[in-house]
Structure formats: C-alpha cells, structure tokens
C-alpha cells in the first residue's frame, strides 16, 4: 500500500494580534506552520500504514521554506517527503495547484490512496483535494470522518454532510479529504523529530514531474485575484452592559428587541 498525503504550509494564527482600530487580526510577521487540518490527514495516513502496511509519502507545493512543514510530516510518521518548488509554480490557483500535485503524485507512483486535510486555513477553498481527484480521474470522498475498511481494491468511508452522513465505497486509487474528528494526531517523539531533520527531501521542478509549464503558475491559472482589501471594520463602539444579573439581562433583552431578534417568536 502506498499512501500520499498532500499538505500545505500556512501562516500561523497563534501569535496574531487584534488591531485596536479595525478589530481585525493583524497578519504581519506571522510564522509559518503546517496547515492544522493536514495533521489529521498525516495521522490517518500513518495509522492506515500501521494497520495495513506500506509507506506514507508527504508532498507539498510551495517555497523552499515549505520543507519545514514536510519535516514535521516525517517526524509524525511519514516515510518520505517531496517538495514541488520552483518559480514556475508561483501564483498557481487551485486548478493549477491541483494539476501540479496530481503530477507529483503520478511521479511518486503506485499510490493507492491520497489523503488531504479538509481545507487549508489560509485560502479556505477546499478545492485542491477534489481538484487532484479530477486531474487523476480518481474517485473522491470529502469530509471523511471515519475509514471503515481498506484493502487493495476498495475503501469504505463515512463522510459528513449538513444533514447527517453517508457510508460510501470507493474503488482505489482514490482521494480523501478528512475532517478533524477522524482521529487524534500524535505528538512526535524527540527521536523522530531529530531523525526528520536529517532526512533528505528531494525538490522537484516542473520538468522533474512532467508538468506542462503551460498549466502551472500565475498566467495559465483560470482565476486571477484582482483586488484584496481589508474587510469593512466592525462598527467601532462597543456597548458595555454591566450591573446585577437581572439588570444586565433586561438591558440585553431590550437591545435584542431593538435589533429585531425577538420578533416572530
């Protein structure tokens, strides 16, 4: 069995501050971390390997510094890691990113399963997982909360939706995106962290994976960001209510009525 986990390095939100004027998070100077949802993808890949045998390979597309996120995957139990990094990849949208990752997965070869996190917390699109499945023409299952069975040919998974859940059978190879309640990620041991720092992580340029340079990067990407702006600031003033519980509740109830939230009940 070979499982490929696709990950992304994203800005950390841990050390963010709130701007006192706009009341929004200040993003300047944030450090980079492994996308939180990808921890569950890595853990699931490693658990499946531990149960059924095989190898887990981590892959990402990003700047050279994204190597750090791949080392974290190695420390968490992945066996190999590859970095797609080159200027030519820069500016790729989700179409082009999923194309490049699909090419990387094909280059790794013999994958039975690809696992991604539900979405990355910076872009929040959730598009790359299904995009990889479409480029490879493999079956996909998103919002997976449980892998119920797994053999060479078929995987049965439970996936979540707004109304409940489904149990679905996928013919392998296939692509999963996983949600947080699928598992509890492990904490790496010091030994595995040290070993991950020694590991060799090959860097693949477009030619290394046979990617068509007319399908990657900014220009070929179908979508184009034409403007970014801070969201409208939250209306400045905070209304403070205090006093004893009865007074505070009465003031709050009056405010809710004024805002129209107590109508129609």
């Amino acid at each position: 069995m070979r499982i490929v986990v696709c990950i992304k390095q994203v800005p950390a939100t841990d050390d963010a501050k709130i701007d006192p004027v706009t009341k929004r998070i200040v993003r300047e100077g944030m450090k980079a971390v492994l996308n939180p949802f990808d921890l569950y993808a890595v853990e699931e890949g490693v658990r499946l390997k531990e149960e059924f045998g095989g190898t887990v390979v981590a892959v990402t597309m990003g700047p050279p510094s994204a190597e750090k996120a791949l080392r974290e995957c190695l420390s968490l139990g992945c066996d190999e890691a590859y970095l797609l990094s080159d200027r030519a990849y820069g500016g790729s949208d989700t179409w082009a990113t999923s194309y490049a990752l699909a090419k990387g997965i094909a280059k790794i070869g013999d994958a039975d399963l690809v696992i991604c996190g539900k979405q990355a917390v910076d872009g929040d699109t959730a598009q790359v997982g299904p995009g990889i499945a479409a480029h490879l023409d493999w079956q996909q299952c998103t919002y997976v909360s449980k892998v119920l069975s797994f053999d060479c040919n078929e995987l049965v998974a439970e996936r979540m939706n707004e109304a409940g859940s489904d149990r679905v059978a996928l013919t392998l190879p296939a692509v999963l995106t996983v949600v947080k309640d699928i598992n509890q990620p492990r904490v790496p041991s010091l030994r595995s962290v040290l070993a991950s720092l020694e590991a060799e992580i090959p860097v693949w340029k477009p030619a290394d994976i046979g990617a068509d340079v007319d399908k990657i990067g900014l220009n070929p990407s179908p979508t184009r960001v034409v403007k970014t702006a801070p969201p409208p600031p939250r209306s400045g003033e905070t209304l403070h209510i205090s006093g004893d519980a009865a007074q505070a509740a009465a003031a709050l109830a009056a405010k809710l009525t004024q805002l129209g939230f107590t109508e129609g009940k």
Binding site: T13, Q127, Q139, M160, N161, A163, R167, V225, L239, A245
Partner: protein, 336 residues
C-alpha cells in the same frame, strides 16, 4: 491561453445555478442562488437556468420560476438520490459542454464544495469558493467575485478572464432570495438522462444517514448562541440550548469544549471547526482565542457575556455584557 477549452468566450451565455437538494425536496438555498443569478442575468440580458439533479422532485421544478428561473434542465433518477461526486460531475460536464453557460453558481455546502471543484477541473473553468458578493460587467460578462480569505481577514476580488463558464460557490444565507412571483412561468423544461458511460468509475453509496430533527446545521443558522470553557460542562450547554430555543438559534462551542467532550465536533466554531457568518452571535464565557475569532468575526452583530471585561472577545464585541453567564443567561431566557 493553452488552458482554455478553445471555444470563444462569446459562445457562452446564460447564468446557471445548480439546485441544492434536501432529500427529494429542492433546498431553500436554491432560491438564494436564483436571486443572485437574476441580477446577473438582467445585467447581461441573459436567462437564468436552474439545473436540478436528484430523485423524486420532478413535480416541483415549475416552482423555481417564481424565484427567478427562466428555464430548468434536470435529471430525475434514483441513482441521483444520494450525492455521488463522480456521477454528478460526469453528467454536468456533458451539460456544460453542450449548453455553454457563461456563469455557473452553486451552494458552498458539503456537496457543492466537493462537486464543483471536480467539475471546474474537468471543464477547465475558474472557480471561486464562498463568494459573498457577485457583480458582472454588463459588456464583457466578466464576473467579479468577492470572497473572504484568511478566516475573514482579507476580502479578495477574483476574476476569471479567459475561461468559461465562470464558476462560483455561495454560502447559504449570504445571497437574498426574491419574493416569489407565482405569475412567472418557465420558458422551457429540459429533461436529461444519465448516459451509461457516466456511471463508469463512480463510487457506491452504501447508506445515507439523516440525523433527526434538531441536528446542528450551523451554516444554516441566522443566530448562534455559543459557549466556551467557562460553561464548565455539558450542563452549561443545556442552559445555552434553552436560550437558543427562545431565539430560534443554533448552539455553537469553542474548541476546548469539544476537546473536553461537552459537545460534539459538529458544534465547533473556529479555525478547525466551522466558520460562521450569522446575523447574531452570542458568545457566552468564550475568551476569544484567535482560533475562535477567525471562525466568527464575520458575524453581523456580536454579543459577548463574560465575567472578565478584558478578553479579546469582550473587546471585539458590539455588545459586551460583564457578568456571570450562569446568572445572566437564565434571566435573559426568562425575559424573551
């Protein structure tokens, strides 16, 4: 331009929406998509086409006219009863190639966020997720799609200059449905069938579990009453549920409450839970770790109730109530 599918942009017209299904019924978010599509179609002098894939809804498609559809293209088939990504993407790819819509809108639901990215790759189209604003250039038909990124910290406007259709998903409750006009009728209704090759290499749906009424659907809620660590345990959330019932609200929770097992994961709001944009968010005993704030700062009105007036959430809130949640919430529930 190597990526384009070699058909000139001008050959694409009309605004399509993909109807969202709730079992055999057409879900209300469909009406919101129609409302958004109507404005775009009028700017372009084009038609709004509703595409409906499902099972057992056939008798209700004409109702879509009242909400703004000019035409309906549909497939009513038992194999479409449960959502199957591959089957729906195969069928829609054929319809898009045949009819060439200029714009394709879908709901940013579990189904839409899985299906439409697959479809966008197959049809070589640009896709923008979770749009909060859509406008169209009346001359060129270029769609300006505005969406939040970085947990709502940045609004990005995105265009698809060279590829058609221009695809976008929209979260439920973001766009406005039109008041239904039952004097409108459809210009055409086209029934499509699944082709045999479209059922090749598709997953099997073994079972569909629909949770009983009252299951959490934070994405659909207009009001959320949410609790944090200070709720102390599951009992605290029962108290919040009573308040939520009075307001017609859903109950949310911050991550520590989920990790402690007080509430199921489906209730989690924040970076590793759900991002919500409700009209009203009442945060009870939530200090406001950054991971929580990114999940709810897009809400219209934020009310915080906490003993400590200096928490990030109390400072961000529109209304900050300083006091004990265990005293204030029951009082408030009584008053409503």
């Amino acid at each position: 331009m190597i990526l384009t599918n070699e058909i000139p942009k001008e050959a694409y017209r009309n605004i399509w929406i993909l109807a969202e299904m709730n079992g055999e019924a057409i879900s209300p978010v469909t009406h919101e998509l129609l409302g958004a599509a109507r404005g775009l179609a009028e700017a372009r002098g084009a038609d709004v086409v509703a595409v409906v894939l499902g099972s057992g809804f056939e008798s209700t498609v004409e109702d879509l006219a009242a909400y703004g559809a000019d035409s309906v293209i549909y497939a009513d088939d038992k194999r479409l009863a449960a959502y199957n990504d591959e089957l729906e993407a195969n069928l829609l790819t054929r319809l898009i190639k045949a009819y060439r819509p200029e714009v394709f809108l879908g709901a940013a639901t579990a189904r839409g966020r899985a299906l439409i990215p697959r479809l966008a790759v197959k049809t070589v189209s640009g896709l923008t997720a979770d749009c909060t604003e859509l406008t169209i250039d009346a001359e060129t038909g270029e769609l300006h799609q505005t969406r939040p990124a970085f947990g709502g910290n940045l609004m990005a406007t995105i265009k698809t200059p060279n590829h058609r259709p221009q695809m976008a998903t929209v979260r439920p409750r973001v766009m406005k449905a039109l008041d239904p006009d039952y004097t409108r009728s459809l210009q055409s209704i086209v029934r499509e069938e699944i082709l045999p090759e479209e059922t090749e290499n598709i997953k099997r749906i073994l079972e569909t579990v629909r949770e009983h009424q009252g299951a959490v659907n934070l994405g659909d809620a207009q009001i959320i009453v949410s609790g944090g660590r200070a709720m102390k345990g599951p009992e605290g959330f029962k108290m919040l549920q009573a308040l939520a019932d009075k307001l017609g609200a859903a109950v949310g929770a911050s991550r520590p409450c989920i990790d402690a097992g007080w509430m199921p994961y489906a209730h989690q709001i924040g970076q590793t839970g759900q991002t919500v944009q409700t009209k009203l968010y009442i945060a009870c005993g939530i200090s406001g770790q950054i991971q929580h704030l990114v999940g709810m700062q897009g809400c219209d009105t934020i009310i915080a109730i906490d003993k400590n007036p200096n928490t990030p959430l109390m400072q961000m809130a529109d209304v900050a109530v300083c006091g004990d949640v265990f005293e204030i919430v029951p009082e408030l529930t009584k008053l409503l």
